[in-house]
Amino acid sequence: MIVRTIVVGVDGSENAQRALDWAVTLAEPSGARVVAVHALGLLDRLEHEHVPTASHRDEILDEFRSTWCAALDAAACADERVVVDGTPADVILGAAIEHDADIIVVGERGSGGGPARDLGSTSRRVLEGAGRPVLVVPQEQSA
């Protein structure tokens, strides 16, 4: 099995950062390319503030490429940094198809709770729709 392309969801959160680190860890020894994907919703978070994406689009793109994807700068692998309008699960699944990903890496959102809460779980929706291997990276557990 050869891994050529890894799609990873990146949103600036700590957990997404861990997902990106895992994507790099998988990519470096295999020579795979990492496609980092960010979903542009109606709103986004910059400097811990919710902002409309329409009026902050350029700032979000800059932040995504230069800060949220900084781990790729020092990584020994090829990468692509992509921003797409839509919801996270749709955008990640769409990118996996478009880039013919061998594996998807996403952070697990920590909402917890019963089955109804899976409704808003990006990782669950990616798992259900991916049709290919998915690595779900859990949040860091506090000691």
Partner: protein, 342 residues
């Protein structure tokens, strides 16, 4: 006469202090209606919202999604995506928001007169059959259109919210009983609504999308109606016309980059109302609009024009980009008429 169903105290959808889709929007709408019709409410027929039934909701949404949404709220809430919070009161609010539209339709049908207005939140047009998104939980206009279609009606939905109504498009993609028209900014969330999205194999041409670039003015929205939609509607021959009325294409709105003024909404309202077959067959469903003063002025302009009671002093806008989009839509529709798909 305005047949109005407003959520009022039934609004218990708590999105948080930071969220632009907030309860104050409905107060802005109330003030806009008062600006148009006067503070005494003369000319308003108030209709109490009712909760949409399970049967009415599942004409559009999957039973699994409906169950999950209800239980997410019952469990105290959560979110559908980073844009779309759900609070403990969201399920009931969403049911009443959808039911308000149904109540308006019923009242219009009974009276056979008036303009309907469902002044509700959360908005609905992004809510897809299997999942809400983009601030939307249940698709209010789609639930109303599905109810009408079930009664044998032919429904034209004109969506002038600045974001593409992907949920409404999905709901009627294969349904020739509903003609869905959207004018929206592109590229922009939710990333759908391209010119080539014209309906499924069972409903070719029953979806019309105008993905206008940033900077588009009201002139292009008006030309879209004049140059394309009027003919399409004449061929479709709707028995009802529903407006998915977002007011976030206004130049002051922070969630988009179109340049409309309140006067543009008055002009659009005139044109869309002319597509209805007779009095009592036009209903407005509130979608977006997040700058409260602009929302108030735009609602006043729309309602005032339709009821003949008020004219805004915010003049319609002209020029700017977008003509290419209209031309592309015309090319696609010509291909459809000729039976070509590419």
């Amino acid at each position: 006469m305005l047949v109005l169903s407003a959520l009022g105290e039934l609004d218990r959808h708590d999105t948080g202090d930071w969220h632009p889709e907030r309860p104050a929007r409905l107060e802005a709408v109330r003030l806009g209606i008062a600006d148009a019709l006067g503070p005494t409410g003369d000319g308003i027929v108030s209709v109490a919202p009712r909760a949409a039934t399970q049967e009415e909701i599942v004409r559009v949404h999957s039973a699994h999604y409906v169950w999950s949404l209800e239980h997410l709220a019952a469990d105290g809430g959560g979110e559908l995506d980073p844009d779309t919070p759900v609070s403990a009161g969201s399920w009931d609010t969403a049911r009443f928001a959808a039911g308000a539209g149904l109540a308006v339709i019923d009242e219009l049908a009974t009276r056979d007169a008036g303009i309907g207005f469902a002044a509700v939140r959360p908005p609905g047009h992004h809510a897809r059959p299997g999942m809400g998104m983009g601030f939307c939980l249940l698709n209010n206009v789609a639930i109303a259109a599905a109810a009408l279609a079930e009664q044998g009606e032919r429904v034209l939905i004109v969506d002038w919210d600045v974001h593409h109504g992907n949920g409404t498009q999905d709901a009627f993609w294969e349904d020739p009983r509903v003609l869905y028209v959207s004018m929206h900014q592109s590229p922009m969330y939710p990333g759908t609504g391209r010119v080539g999205e014209t309906g499924g194999v069972s409903a070719p041409g029953a979806t019309i999308n105008f993905p206008f670039p940033a900077g588009t003015t009201g002139e292009m929205y008006r030309r879209a109606i004049d140059d394309v939609v009027t003919d399409a509607a004449a061929a479709f021959s709707p028995t009802w016309v529903l407006i998915s009325a977002g007011f976030d294409a206004h130049r002051d709105d922070p969630l988009a980059g179109h340049e409309l003024a309140a006067g543009d909404y008055a002009e659009l309202a005139t044109r869309v109302a002319a597509l209805a077959p007779r009095d009592g067959r036009l209903a407005i469903f509130l979608e977006g609009g997040y700058e409260l003063a602009a929302l108030r002025r735009s609602v006043a302009a729309t309602v005032g024009r339709l009821t003949g009671t008020f004219e805004t002093d915010e003049a319609p806008t002209h020029a700017g980009p977008g003509a290419d989009t209209i031309g592309a839509v015309q090319v696609f529709r010509e291909r459809l008429r000729e039976g070509r798909t590419s």
